[in-house]
C-alpha cells in the first residue's frame, strides 16, 4: 500500500515537474520580434571610454538601465545620420507609448577624428538624450571586437579614409550583458514595437 502510494506520488511529482518544465520552456521562448535574442548573453567585459560630455563611460554606466548601442562615426554622410534619425523616431514612439526607453549610445568607430567635443556637437543634434562615446583606439576597437562589431578602415583620397562597420544595434541590460541584436535595415516603428515587448520579457527571463 505504502509502496503503491509512493509510486503514485513519484509519478504525480514527475508529471508536475514535466508540466512545470514545459511551461517554463514555453515562457522562456522570446516574443516574436525582428531581434536576435541571444541564448547566451554576450559579456562586453570591462571598458574605459569617455562620453561626449567628457565623463567616463565604463561598465558601471550601464547599471542605470537598458542601453541600445550603435557603432558609427561623424564623417559618415549617409548610413550614420540615417540610423541616428531612425533611432530618434524610435525613441519618440517609445516615449509616446510610455514604454521603457533604452539609452541610445553611439560608439565612434573613428576615435582618431571623433573627439568628445565633436561628438557633443553631433550626436545630441539627432536627440538630446543620445550619448556619444569615444576613447582610445585600443579601447574602442577591443570593445567592438568583444561585441562582435566589425570595424574596417578604408582609405580614400589622400589622408582621408572611411570606416566600414557593423550596422547592427545591440541591446544591453542593467547587468551590462548583450541580450539582443537588431540587424540592419532598421525601421523606427518596428524597432519601437520590438523593444517595447522585448525589454519587459528580458527583465523576466
Amino acid at each position: 500500500m505504502n509502496f503503491r502510494l509512493t509510486v503514485i506520488a513519484v509519478a504525480a511529482l514527475a508529471l508536475g515537474a514535466g508540466f512545470f518544465a514545459a511551461g517554463r520552456w514555453r515562457s522562456a521562448e522570446p516574443p516574436a520580434t525582428d531581434a536576435i535574442v541571444l541564448d547566451a548573453p554576450r559579456d562586453p567585459g570591462a571598458f574605459s571610454l569617455v562620453d561626449h560630455d567628457g565623463r567616463p563611460f565604463d561598465r558601471a554606466r550601464l547599471a542605470d538601465g537598458w542601453t541600445l548601442w550603435f557603432f558609427g562615426f561623424t564623417h559618415c554622410p549617409d548610413v550614420c545620420p540615417m540610423t541616428l534619425s531612425t533611432l530618434n523616431l524610435m525613441d519618440r514612439k517609445l516615449a509616446e507609448s510610455g514604454a521603457t526607453r533604452p539609452t541610445v549610445v553611439m560608439v565612434s568607430v573613428d576615435p582618431m577624428r571623433d573627439t568628445p567635443a565633436r561628438l557633443a556637437q553631433y550626436v545630441p543634434f539627432f536627440n538630446d538624450a543620445f550619448v556619444g562615446v569615444t576613447g582610445s583606439s585600443g579601447e574602442v576597437l577591443s570593445l567592438a571586437e568583444r561585441l562582435g562589431i566589425i570595424v574596417r578602415f578604408v582609405p580614400r583620397d589622400g589622408d582621408d579614409y572611411t570606416v566600414d562597420h557593423s550596422a547592427s544595434l545591440l541591446l544591453t541590460g542593467p547587468d551590462g550583458l548583450v541580450r539582443a541584436v537588431f540587424t540592419a535595415p532598421h525601421e523606427p516603428a518596428r524597432l519601437a514595437q520590438d523593444i517595447a515587448v522585448l525589454i519587459p520579457w528580458l527583465e523576466k527571463n
Binding site: P77, D78, Y122, H165, A184
Partner: protein
C-alpha cells in the same frame, strides 16, 4: 573637365530645367529629358564635414541618360556614392555614373545611392536650400534645389 562643361552649358541646363517644369519634356529638341523630384539634403549638425543629398531622377525621354557627376558652389566636392549592408557590415563605395534607361526612374535615397556633399562652405539649417547641379555624359547639366530636412520630406 566637369567644371568646363558646366561653365559652357550650366546656364543652359538650368534654364532648360525651369522650362521643363513648365512644358512637356517631349517639346524639347535636345538636352536631358530628365525630371528631378524629391530632392533633399539630410540636416546635419553645424560643422558636419559631409552631408548626403537625395533625389529621384526620371528619364522621360526615349534614350538612355547617364549622370557622370555633380557639383555646387556650396561644397568643395560632390561625389556619387552607394551605401550597402553586406553580411551585416555597412560600407560605401564611389560610383562613376548613374544610368537611367528610357522611361526609367532611379532613386537616390538613404542607405543606397546618394550624393556625398563634401566640405560645405556654409552651414545648412533645416529649411535651407542647397543648390546642386548634376552633369550628364552628353555635356548637359541640370541645376536644382534640395531642401534641408531631418527626414525625407
Amino acid at each position: 573637365m566637369l567644371s568646363r562643361i558646366l561653365a559652357n552649358r550650366g546656364l543652359v541646363g538650368a534654364a532648360l530645367f525651369t522650362a521643363m517644369l513648365a512644358v512637356a519634356p517631349a517639346a524639347l529638341a535636345e538636352g536631358p529629358s530628365v525630371e528631378i523630384t524629391d530632392a533633399w539634403v539630410r540636416a546635419a549638425p553645424p560643422g558636419a564635414t559631409m552631408l548626403a543629398g537625395y533625389l529621384t531622377l526620371r528619364n522621360t525621354g526615349d534614350t538612355t541618360v547617364r549622370v557622370i557627376g555633380a557639383e555646387s558652389p556650396q561644397f568643395d566636392v560632390i561625389e556619387m556614392h552607394e551605401s550597402m549592408v553586406a553580411d551585416g557590415v555597412a560600407h560605401m563605395h564611389e560610383v562613376d555614373g548613374i544610368t537611367i534607361p528610357p522611361g526609367g526612374t532611379v532613386r537616390l535615397e538613404p542607405g543606397g545611392l546618394h550624393l556625398m556633399l563634401i566640405a560645405p562652405t556654409q552651414d545648412f539649417a533645416v529649411g535651407h536650400k542647397a543648390i546642386l547641379t548634376i552633369a550628364f555624359d552628353d555635356g548637359w547639366s541640370i541645376e536644382f534645389d534640395a531642401i534641408v530636412s531631418r527626414e525625407a520630406p
